[in-house]
């Protein structure tokens, strides 16, 4: 338990360095939603996340952890964005999932502390215009950039009620900071640049409940419900607004016909429309309800050491909550592939997930991204 607390403190300490992916679909609203999944779940399309104690999707899954585990993951995002103003390749790095979890000795409980990305609002937009100043045409370069987003700090506990039933409760603190910078530069060096910086800070509290049920030796179901309440928004320490956050629910089914093979499918829905009125009041475009469907498989090559060199495949489709232009809800679909390695008698592990994502608003805003996620886990 002391080790758990120590690692929990460490995860808290590293919270400020959380960064997230940068996408033009993260410009609006609260940013692009992030999936609080471990590399293992990501490589299976997210379908096994509700059963995965290293993901932060279902607090009930924490009950299935039998060994203290800490996980640190980093992801590198290579993307190409296209919109009516041009195309641009970019890359960015983030640390999407940090988890410390373990069983509470002698009890049927498991405890987990995790820090996950909730939404990402890191972007830089560049525009060039020409204005008349003092009777002369001067080219003006405007750059609007934002760094940061929302993070989800979760404290969860799972209870192994019976061999076939696990339930769990999670408490969530949603915090974050957007450092927004507006810059203006001129082609005429007689004009100094103008700069404007704003810090938007967020704080919200939420809770989640979940359960996993083993219906049959090879079939399990999982479900979770989450309510994130509302988000208080401060601009440079001055409260400016409150944004309602969505409720969400998800269900997942898992089929394990053999020790080596797992197939899972999941469905999730988030009522982002709860945020719409607050976002519109702030001058935004709005927010739409979203859903996500995913499916994936995991093929184990070594049943004695199951997480050593497994093969994971998956795919998902999701709608995104914040339209770039009114009336055009963007969506995302992706395929994923991954594996993992265990060494030092399973105490150390590395999991790798490679995702190929396509995003579009159905018209002129499109994006293609390759996301490589690497997770390093330790089981002392």
């Amino acid at each position: 338990m002391r080790r758990l607390l120590l690692l929990a403190a460490l995860t808290g300490l590293v919270a400020p360095v959380l960064e997230a992916q940068s996408s033009q679909f993260g410009v609006r609203g609260l940013g692009i939603p992030l999936r609080p999944y471990s590399p293992r779940s990501l490589s299976a399309g997210g379908a096994i996340a509700l059963f995965d104690p290293e993901s932060s999707a279902n607090p009930a899954a924490v009950a299935s952890i039998f060994q203290f585990t800490s996980l640190f993951s980093t992801s590198q995002n290579f993307r190409n964005s296209t919109n009516p103003f041009g195309s641009q390749s970019g890359r960015d790095n983030r640390f999407p999932q940090i988890v410390a979890a373990g069983p509470v000795g002698g009890t049927p409980f498991g405890v987990s502390v995790s820090l996950s990305g909730y939404t990402d609002r890191s972007y830089t937009l560049g525009t060039v215009t020409e204005v008349e100043l003092r009777g002369q045409q001067v080219q003006v370069y405007d750059t609007l950039s934002s760094r940061g987003g929302l993070s989800d700090l979760r404290l969860a506990s799972g209870w192994q009620v019976a061999p076939w039933l696990q339930v769990g409760l999670g408490l969530h603190a949603i915090t974050g900071l957007n450092r927004v910078e507006n810059r203006k530069a001129f082609s005429d060096s007689a004009y100094a640049g103008a700069n404007e910086r704003t810090d938007l800070s967020y704080l919200g509290l939420g809770a989640s409940v979940g359960a996993t049920v083993r219906l049959h030796r090879s079939i399990s179901l999982a479900g979770t419900y989450r309510n994130d309440g509302h988000l208080k928004v401060d601009r440079d320490s001055l409260p400016i607004t409150r944004i309602d956050l969505p409720t969400a629910w998800a269900v997942s089914g898992r089929w394990q016909p053999t020790m080596r093979f797992t197939w899972a499918a999941a469905y999730q829905q988030k009522q982002w429309s709860a945020s719409r009125a607050d976002i519109l009041a702030q001058g935004g475009i709005g927010a739409e309800n979203t859903y996500e469907v995913s499916t994936g498989i995991e093929w184990l090559q070594e049943t004695r050491n199951p997480q050593h060199r497994p093969i994971r495949l998956g795919g998902h489709y999701a709608t995104l909550p914040f339209p770039i232009l009114t009336g055009r809800q963007p969506h995302e679909y992706g395929i994923s592939l991954g594996t993992g390695f265990r060494f030092t008698q399973g105490r150390g592990g590395i999991d790798l997930a490679v995702q190929q994502l396509w995003r579009s608003d159905g018209a002129s805003y499109t994006e293609r991204a390759t996301v490589v996620t690497l997770g390093v886990s330790i089981r002392p």
């Binding site: 960064e19 940068s22 033009q24 410009v27 609006r28 609203g29 609260l30 980093t74 590198q76 290579f78 964005s81 919109n83 103003f85 041009g86 195309s87 641009q88 390749s89 970019g90 890359r91 960015d92 790095n93 890191s122 972007y123 830089t124 937009l125 560049g126 525009t127 100043l133 003092r134 003006v140 405007d142 609007l144 934002s146 957007n178 927004v180 507006n182 203006k184 007689a190 004009y191 100094a192 103008a194 700069n195 404007e196 704003t198 938007l200 601009r235 607050d278 702030q282 001058g283 935004g284 050593h308 232009l325 390695f341 265990r342 060494f343 150390g348 590395i350 490589v372 690497l374 390093v376």
Partner: protein, 413 residues
């Protein structure tokens, strides 16, 4: 096992190698921007009416780093004088031993600091003055009379290609007697200086009461009889001993009977203009100044020494505190700006003071007031004595043009 570790290290290295962000996306506002670009505005701010004045007397003779000498310039006539302290010509110390000096030449040298490079045939004339005939109280007419009635020792022909550098008169043979001093003069020697060229012109010669290399020199050169052959040639050299022994006098001093409704800069009385502004709170507190330009309109055509670097410039300095004439100035080099005055014109002068205007916005920053000075004030004065309209003038008063950005609080959802 080993392969697993190698693979793990490799993957980690790959992940860390890619940790550089490049996240710019093309876009335009308002289509894609969750916030408006910074709004740019341009405005003109007039000084506080009656808050601008001319003050004189910022440099005295001890601040002079140059002797002005001219001939036929519109800005006035200037003549100079200089005397050197005692110099022995009979002996000189070599290795701390007084040794007999066999004088074979004498030299009077000056540091030419500035000239009109388009004036050809520039020649300086050295007149031998009686000791005590010229001092700091002498008038221009008296100095001119002295020059007319005293013999020319020598002339210094300045090469047309020389913009600045050391120039001198070198005397040999019987000409050395022209600079020898009588016993009654105690070995001291004095000269008057005037100048001529193919057209009206002027020069500034370096002087320095600290005796630096910019100072004029007078020397006797000759041979000594010593064993060390590298020390056979020696010279006995002196520089002006104090500020009372050199000076210049001109015919124009605009500080005399100055119009209080105009702003005077430079000249023998070192005029400065103090201008005060009231920056609107909306700009001072909320805007980001991207360009601030002080515009001054001359009341008289600019007249000085043509093609004189720095001589045609007006500079601006902020003040630490507004104490009127005695306001201490911000002296950092980065807080001094210059604007060019075009010789023979009344073209308004524009001076970029963006950095100073930004300083005015700082909490506890300097007050929105500034001194305008002639850039050659640092030499103790120059030929040009610019005159500008003030806020009390019917037209053409100073004005401050400010281009600024207004925040838009970007980052809306």
């Amino acid at each position: 096992m080993k392969r697993g570790i190698i693979a793990a290290v490799g993957l980690l290295a790959l992940a860390l190698a890619g940790c550089q962000d490049r996240i710019t996306t093309p876009g335009t506002c308002p289509d894609l921007c969750p916030g408006d670009p910074i709004i740019i505005r341009d405005t003109t701010i007039l000084p506080i009416v009656g808050g601008d004045s001319t003050f004189f007397g910022y440099a005295d003779r001890s601040d002079r780093l140059g002797l002005l000498v001219s001939d036929g310039l519109d800005v006035g006539e200037y003549r100079a004088f200089i005397s050197f302290p005692i110099v022995r010509e009979d002996s000189i110390a070599v290795d701390n031993i007084m040794t007999k000096l066999e004088v074979d030449s004498a030299a009077v040298t000056f540091q030419l600091q500035s000239r009109d490079t388009t004036a050809t045939g520039l020649t300086l004339y050295l007149h031998r003055f009686p000791l005590g005939a010229a001092d700091t109280t002498i008038s221009f007419d008296s100095l001119q009379t002295l020059l007319a009635n005293t013999p020319i020792v020598d002339s210094i022909v300045v090469p047309d290609t020389l913009k600045s550098g050391r120039i001198g008169a070198y005397l040999t043979g019987d000409d050395i007697d022209k600079v020898r001093t009588s016993a009654a003069d105690s070995g001291r020697v004095a000269f008057g200086i005037r100048v001529r060229a193919s057209k009206p012109t002027g020069v500034r010669l370096g002087v320095d009461n600290l005796g630096s290399t910019n100072a004029p020199t007078f020397e006797f050169r000759g041979r000594v009889e010593v064993a060390d052959t590298s020390k056979l040639r020696q010279s006995a050299l002196v520089r002006p001993a104090d500020i009372a022994t050199f000076g210049y006098v001109g015919t124009l001093d605009r500080s005399i009977d100055a119009d209080p409704d105009l702003l005077y800069l430079g000249g023998p009385a070192t005029g400065r203009g103090l201008i005060r502004f009231a920056i609107p709170p909306g700009i001072r507190d909320s805007a980001e100044i991207v360009r601030a330009t002080l515009e001054l309109t001359p009341a008289l055509p600019f007249s000085g020494l043509p093609n004189n670097l720095f001589g045609d410039s007006v500079s601006v300095r902020g003040v630490i505190a507004d104490l009127g004439a005695k306001s201490p100035t911000l002296n950092q080099g980065s807080l001094v700006w210059a604007g060019r005055m075009h010789e023979g014109t009344t073209t308004p002068v524009s001076i970029e003071i963006t950095v100073l205007a930004k300083e005015w916005q700082q909490p506890g920053g300097p007050p929105p007031a500034l001194f305008i000075t002639h850039l050659e004030e640092v030499y103790g004065g120059g030929f040009m004595q610019p005159v500008f309209f003030s806020t009390r003038s019917p037209t053409g008063g100073p004005r401050l043009r400010i281009t600024y950005g207004l925040p838009t609080n970007p980052g809306r959802p």
